[in-house]
Amino acid sequence: MTSPGRSRRVLLGAALLALALVFGGCAEDAPQDFLNHQMGPNAEKADRIWDITFLIAVVIFFVVEGLLVFALIRFRHKPGRVAEQFHGNTKLEVVLTLIPALILAGLAVPTLRTIFDIASKPEGALEVTVTGRQFWWQYEYQDFDFQTANELHIPIDTPVHLTFEAADVIHSYWIPRLTGTQDLVPGRRNELTFSADVPGRYMGQCKEFCGLSHANMRLIVFAHEPAEFQTWVSEQQKPADPASGDVAAGEKLFLEGECVNCHAIEGTDAAATTAPDLTHFASRETFAGAMFEVNEENLAEWLRDPPAMKPGAPMPDYGLTEDQIEKLVAYLMSLD
């Protein structure tokens, strides 16, 4: 009675696998998908070995599960069947030990080669220091002497060498379509070299559990044509425009209130580095760990009570009045 059940199970398994392939194939709407649409050499190299491994695994899966199902159907109980009493078969056992060992040895070669390949550091890379903080990313472009947060801008076809530091706990930097993950460990300096082939907007996020808002510690990498990247860099290198008119009140609040204790804005007296550098805040797409779109509503809601919007955010609710919030929003939105 169970043999039809068995074959149902096979069908189910096959259907699941087929679905997996289908969904893997149309992952245009999955921005962190790394099985398809790799856009950088690291991700492509990893995917090449994965393809071989997956193929071998699928073959082994069908052979072994097929043998299992076959044995269950072929040798199921029937009146009069007598089980054969044998204890083993040394020759067969040796062969069946050697086959997997050889397959694995075959897989080991490209694996080790790729490990060393990805670990090598080319000359002339763009140097950026990334500091992981609960729950956002701080970038320091050493070559150009400015800081930014959460959104990393890079030129395409140029190796980018990231040096990692962690300010509080372990984080992990990951841009699935471009490169595998690298941990940021307090007290250690890890590094990662990667590059992008195609201009675009690549999503990523922290991958090592780092506390309450681990889920909200996201990041975006913008890959530009080199000329476009240069323009962005020269914009970022400028100090903030002097505040005038409507926004001057906001600047005053910013510089005389709590903000200045943690944030920096080039061109003003604000120079603290424990929170994001806001010099060109309005030029960014997102804020607070690439979680919220930069717009006036979101920013106002954030200033009302940051931890309510993002659990565990280190910035507390300063009890700002609506009037103060309005002024600060106006000021911050002017920092483009």
């Binding site: 997996a20 790394f34 007598v82 054969e84 694996t111």
Partner: protein
């Protein structure tokens, strides 16, 4: 010197307990069978708790931006789900079956140290309750079951302090159990039960116990260091004080990877008992399957850093651990081939234990194959900490360990209670579990490869993960339904009381020779073993391949002739009392910086344990009659 051969009867601190039934009968029992049942019932209780946590997690993740749980509660739930399922469910369920069946399967009257066995259970129970009490005392552990420093040392509240002490207490239970099982298997075998005649389950229990013996002290040190950092301002994992957070990871995974095999090897042993019984064939390649188990035990110590490929080990160390991780798949493969060989040419009956065992084999293949893909380091850097990993280890620990353990429960239930679990309900439960598990964990491969990271309490829309997350949640509730069917089955079957008889499955090993449930002294006559699968040969008269080599049975000097003079170990209060001291001291440490009298609490706890151990030593194992 002039005193008699045995010491005169003396009173200890308390009058010796005599109750064999009722609450005190259970609380003072030293009978390995009763302790096994206690272990099993407690583990199933925690299984339900851990399952409820999982359901809450799945409800939260069913849709993007879920609002069922807050970030705080989610982090507590996923941490406690992991701790519960590992330390309070899979390990103790394995221990439950080991407790009940190691003595029966090797032809012994009890384990080597019955009171130590009881102690192990009470420490386990109180350790589990200690951990769960944290929910009512300001919040459960919320730093992940892996407790990575320095997050675990800096998280506010007492959750991770409960973690450091709770796991420490559970470790004591595991260590006591491991020592007991090792000595029992080495020293208490029936005459003729040589090592190469031991049932495979016994071999796997022995390997598991050795892994526990050597893995537990490592995690104990790591947990002590965490405790000193959290409570006493030490600097082990504090980078500002020179500490290295990676020390925690090395110690944790040096324990943690053997721990994986601690969880899976007993299930492999159970499956290796069930398949031959229902295929009516001897196990294929006994020696290979035993040595493969031992090889996994050894190699399990050399792969820990594959949990740490992303921490920056450097390419050389990374390559070494990639290689060791690949080649640990070889002995695992041997086992799968041998299980197939066992089925080949058999006369296969699909009873419910067999279905669960086959579920194990078919699901473990998937978990094994995805396991190999972690050794492909460049790709592991992508899939690490995504749901692909969650999928992998649930195929191993749910599709593997839980299926194997349920198989063991269905297989041995009639022996333990004398009545059968319902076949029909059993099959319904199996199919629900099988479908539910694939619905829950299958899609996790896909969302993992689509970049969904684990340990995140929420995810935004537009990531392409919505559909499969909903399917996973539906699958989780299917699993819950299956567990409900199991509980219904137990109640209905208890009511029906279908007599099992001594040997309902026409099985092969010694436990089926005695009555169901077994008499208190297990065997009226200690069996003399002449072959592997000795009971089968006794029933069907196969010719033993080797002549019996009698050895003296443990603890059974003059017991082999009739049950009249059998001196079984007597019940005792002391294991329970000694266990009580540990959580008491634990609370003292947790509240060390909050209660001025905390040192006194610690002292009282240690004193309780110390005095109980003293009473234990002075009390003879067997009371005089």
């Amino acid at each position: 010197m002039a005193t008699a051969v045995t010491t005169a009867p003396r009173r200890g601190l308390f009058a010796r307990p005599t109750a064999k039934t009722g609450v005190w009968g259970w609380m003072t029992t030293v009978d390995h069978k009763k302790i096994g049942i206690l272990y099993g019932a407690t583990a199933i209780f925690f299984f339900i708790l851990g399952g409820l946590e999982a359901l809450a997690i799945r409800l939260q993740l069913a849709t993007p931006n879920g609002e069922v749980l807050t970030a705080e509660v989610y982090n507590q739930f996923f941490t406690m789900h992991g701790i519960t399922m590992i330390f309070l469910v899979v390990m103790p369920l394995g221990v439950a079956i080991m407790n009940y069946f190691i003595p029966l399967m090797i032809g012994a009257r009890d384990v080597a140290f019955p009171r130590l066995n009881a102690f192990s259970y009470w420490v386990f129970l109180l350790g589990g309750l200690f951990l769960y009490s944290s929910f009512f005392l300001g919040g459960a552990p919320d730093g992940g079951w892996f407790g990575y420093a320095p997050l675990s040392t800096t998280l506010p509240g007492n959750g991770m302090t409960f973690y450091s002490l709770g796991l420490q207490i559970l470790g004591v239970a595991s260590l006591a159990g491991a020592v007991n099982f090792i000595i029992t298997i080495i020293n208490m075998r029936a005459p003729g039960m040589t090592f190469m005649r031991l049932p495979v389950f016994i071999w796997m229990s022995l390997v598991t116990s050795f892994l526990l013996l050597f893995a537990m002290p490592i995690i104990a040190v790591a947990l002590f260091q965490l405790m000193f950092d959290r409570v006493f301002e030490a600097n082990f994992f504090n980078p500002a004080g020179g500490g290295d957070p990676l020390l925690w990871q090395h110690l944790f995974w040096l324990f943690g990877h053997p721990e994986v095999y601690i969880m899976i090897l007993p299930a492999m042993g159970i499956v290796s008992e069930i398949l031959p019984t229902f295929a009516r064939k001897p196990i294929f390649g006994y020696a290979a399957i035993v040595f493969a188990g031992a090889a996994i035990g050894f190699m399990g110590w050399g792969v820990w850093a594959h949990h740490m490929f992303a921490v920056g080990l450097g390419p050389v160390a990374t390559s070494a651990f990639a290689l060791s991780t690949m080649f640990i798949a070889v002995p695992t493969g041997i086992k799968i081939f041998n299980w197939l060989g066992t089925l080949w040419g058999g006369d296969i009956r699909f009873k419910s234990p067999m279905l669960f065992a086959l579920g194990f084999v078919s699901m473990f293949i998937i978990g094994g194959l995805s396991g190999v893909s972690h050794a492909i380091v460049p790709h592991d850097m992508q899939q690490t900490d995504t749901y692909y990993i969650v999928a992998h280890f649930h195929y191993v620990l749910f599709g593997g360990a839980i299926f194997g353990l349920f198989g063991g429960i269905y297989y041995w239930w009639p022996k333990m209670f004398g009545w059968m679990l319902g076949e029909g309900w059993g099959k319904v439960q199996f199919w629900l579990l099988f479908i539910g598990m694939n619905l829950t964990f299958g899609p996790m491969h896909i969302v993992g490869l689509q970049g969904q990271p684990r340990r995140t309490y929420t995810y935004p829309e537009g990531m392409g993960w919505d559909f499969w997350n909903m399917i996973e949640t539906i699958g989780a509730f299917t699993i819950a339904l299956s567990v409900l069917v199991f509980l219904i089955n137990v109640f209905i079957s208890k009511f029906k009381k279908e007599e099992a008889g001594d040997d309902p499955w026409d099985a092969r090993t010694l436990e089926w020779m005695t009555t169901s449930p077994p008499v208190e002294h297990n065997f009226d006559e200690i069996p003399v073993v002449a072959d592997r699968d000795d009971f089968w040969h006794k029933k069907y008269g196969g010719t033993p391949e080797t002549a019996p080599q009698p050895v003296i049975a443990g603890g059974a000097d003059d017991l082999a002739h009739g049950g009249d003079h059998i001196h079984l170990p007597s019940p005792s209060y002391f294991p329970l009392y000694a266990a009580v001291g540990l959580p008491v001291a634990g609370y003292g440490v947790v509240y060390f910086n909050e209660w001025s009298f905390a040192p006194i609490v610690i002292g009282v706890g240690m004193l309780i344990t110390l005095l109980s151990l003293f009473g234990w030593v002075l009390e003879p194992g067997t009371a005089e009659e």
